[in-house]
Symmetry: C2
């Protein structure tokens, strides 16, 4: 029998207990012995639950229990999750987590600690909820050099954008709907400002390119400034707007970025709607592969956690040695140097004149007349730095909005 502990009995933690129960038979068969939740850490008590006696408010009951060999961390947040994970690994227990904030901030350190203690530190559920992505990146695509990753990594914003695109909703109405349906929190900042997607692309970039990438190294734009007019312009260009987390390897280092981007409708990512996530990985041998599914939710996320528990249980004493190196100076490049085509909207009543000035300054530029009293243009690929330089030479041309066109 493998005894595990679960830290945090919230949505994911309670889902872990549920998945272990409903699929008990097949899990026992896969592991070769039963996997049983022995302890659950939570400040609250749940007297109505059949396993109410397993709750504790004291982490020492878990870390000092030598029968417990796997600790599942589903508390979220950096502290005390980090402290508990460190203590559990140091005590020779494998740790499985769904906590993207923890992995994005401390992944390299916890992986090294796991390796030093000959145990597993696994985090499949930290990116893409139930979608298999960490293990495929690390094992199934092991024969590839990963060249780039682009993903729809946040279900809440994708739900909102889907309604903005398909129903012409405003940002505010889409947010209200998401909150009403429980997809967005009362304070939606982490989702709509892109932080959640940023943490996930950091984890993917660290794994794919071998060195830790920290969230504060990644230029992150959310979707709060997007309007229905942006969506209509994208439509005219045969695109939809998606919040994309993107990482790309170059000879000099790694570009990493989170921003709303125009995605052409012939890209498979354009058809990823509602709360679904999808992650496109470009390998130098395999080409493009995409992993698609529900990026959040109780049972999908719990199923990824439990898959890691099964892995840790099967490989006790010979853990999988997933790892990456600490962050290195200059590994993450300045994203304002990365070239994109931009869609730019200018408010103007003098289209012709402004258009002429832009052609003069930008050279190759395409005018897309999709809105009244506006000049809308698409640039050829150039860096944001270069874009700013050229725009600052045209003080009369103040863009209303400026969006990247995804190059996937």
């Amino acid at each position: 029998m493998i005894s595990i502990a679960v830290l945090g009995h919230g949505v994911v933690g309670s889902g872990v207990a549920e998945v272990l129960t409903i699929n008990q038979g097949s899990i026992t068969e896969k592991v070769g012995q039963p996997v049983v939740v022995k302890r659950i850490l939570d400040l609250r008590s749940f007297p109505q639950l059949p396993y109410a006696d397993k709750f504790t408010t004291n982490f020492d009951d878990i870390v000092n229990d030598t029968e417990i060999s796997i600790v599942v961390e589903t508390m979220g947040g950096l502290h005390p999750a980090y402290d508990y994970a460190k203590a559990a690994l140091s005590a020779g227990k494998s740790v499985v987590t769904s906590n993207k904030e923890l992995v994005a901030a401390k992944g390299d350190e916890l992986l090294a600690l796991a390796q030093a203690n000959n145990v597993s530190f696994l985090f499949e559920a930290s990116v893409g909820g139930g979608i298999p992505i960490i293990r495929p990146l690390w094992q199934c695509l092991a024969a590839n050099e990963v060249e780039g990753i682009a993903g729809i990594l946040n279900g809440t914003t994708n739900f909102m954008l889907t309604h903005m695109v398909q129903d012409g909703m405003s940002f505010e109405d889409a947010l209200a709907l998401a909150q009403q349906l429980g997809y967005a929190e009362r304070n939606p900042a982490a989702d709509v400002e892109g932080m959640d997607a940023c943490r996930k692309i950091c984890i993917l970039a660290s794994l794919a390119f071998g060195k830790h990438v920290y969230p504060d190294q990644v230029h992150t734009e959310g979707i709060t400034h997007l309007t229905a007019a942006d969506v209509r312009c994208a439509e005219q260009l045969g695109c939809v707007i998606k919040l994309i987390g993107k990482a790309r390897r170059t000879e000099d280092g790694v570009y990493c970025l989170v921003a709303p981007m125009l995605v052409p409708k012939d890209s498979i990512l354009s058809g990823v709607n509602d709360v679904f996530n999808a992650i496109l990985v470009q390998g130098n041998a395999v080409g493009d592969v995409v992993f698609y599914g529900k990026g959040a939710g109780k049972l999908p996320t719990a199923s990824a956690v439990v898959a890691d528990v099964i892995d840790a249980a099967k490989h006790q004493g010979a853990p999988h040695c997933l790892s990456w190196e600490p962050a290195a100076p200059n590994h993450v490049l300045n994203s304002t140097d990365e070239a994109f085509s931009f869609l730019i909207r200018f408010e103007t009543t003098e289209r012709e004149a402004l258009s002429a000035r832009l052609v003069e300054s930008f050279g190759d530029i395409t005018v897309v007349n999709c809105l009244e009293n506006e000049l809308v243009v698409v640039t050829s690929p150039l860096s944001e730095k270069e874009l700013s330089r050229r725009l600052s030479a045209l003080p009369e041309a103040a863009p209303i909005s400026c969006l990247r066109i995804a190059s996937l």
Copy 2:
């Protein structure tokens, strides 16, 4: 150093050598030691190649070489691939194969033989080319009971159907184009008659549901009878036609089927075009996840083979114990009992009269008037057996075509 042998220096076999060379550095790092091709079995000689001295025409040079610990089989066909795989496993060598015919016909036996010899038998490349699907099904979704699988499993037919849908091409013209571009063989039977997709759904169903499913147990329809008129009808219903391999678990057993089906445009599978493949897996915890990528081609397929080689190399002495049981009587159900909605086209100049007769016989039926001189209807879900029974009661109503609507 890990020494491997490659059986067959065709498209995939030569790709394996290429991937091992171009990504040598990262592969060595992942395995902990270099992986080197020591021998290549082929009846042809390739004197111009830098590794021409590695070729042999005698399998004994490989099976008797104790330095060779992994044998890669990329010959295709059942014999001698099966005999060589069996001999290699019996000699204590791991076997990695891209050969779907071999796995679909002999998977259970070879897995058992590998287990008995404490070596690996791996076949990620046998389904979906470079798309990770075997390992994700077996490891990443290990916490789930798989309920169903539906996939676009054959790139050649998907390329043809894409052109039939997007450009209104006939079957014959689409086939000619696929042959011209090298996507279809001179004798395209295995692709267009569905055998290739059938072998792949057999492998997926065996893995997901735990018992071997043989190709001759699976009702298989190809796309040879599809016409541009079928495609136009599907379009009117908001669907595209895809060749779908489908397996579904029920309490009584497993339904398994390959047939062209109408796929609604709001399904992510409808956007899978050209030579791309996609496999949708429904787990009882994770819900729907989809794996998408190039289902064939030299480097994509080779990259999946090499990922298996890396896995086998890393786990020598403690191989992954992927397995399923031998086929069981009554495990695979009769697919004519599985219920689908059908799109049926009847040639008639008397729509009203025939329509009335159909309503009388079928009860709930929807008339879709999309073609001249035809009556086109959609039935509510019923089994093929039931459909045949009702149609035989209407001898004046001989369908021109009859297509399932995918329920994914």
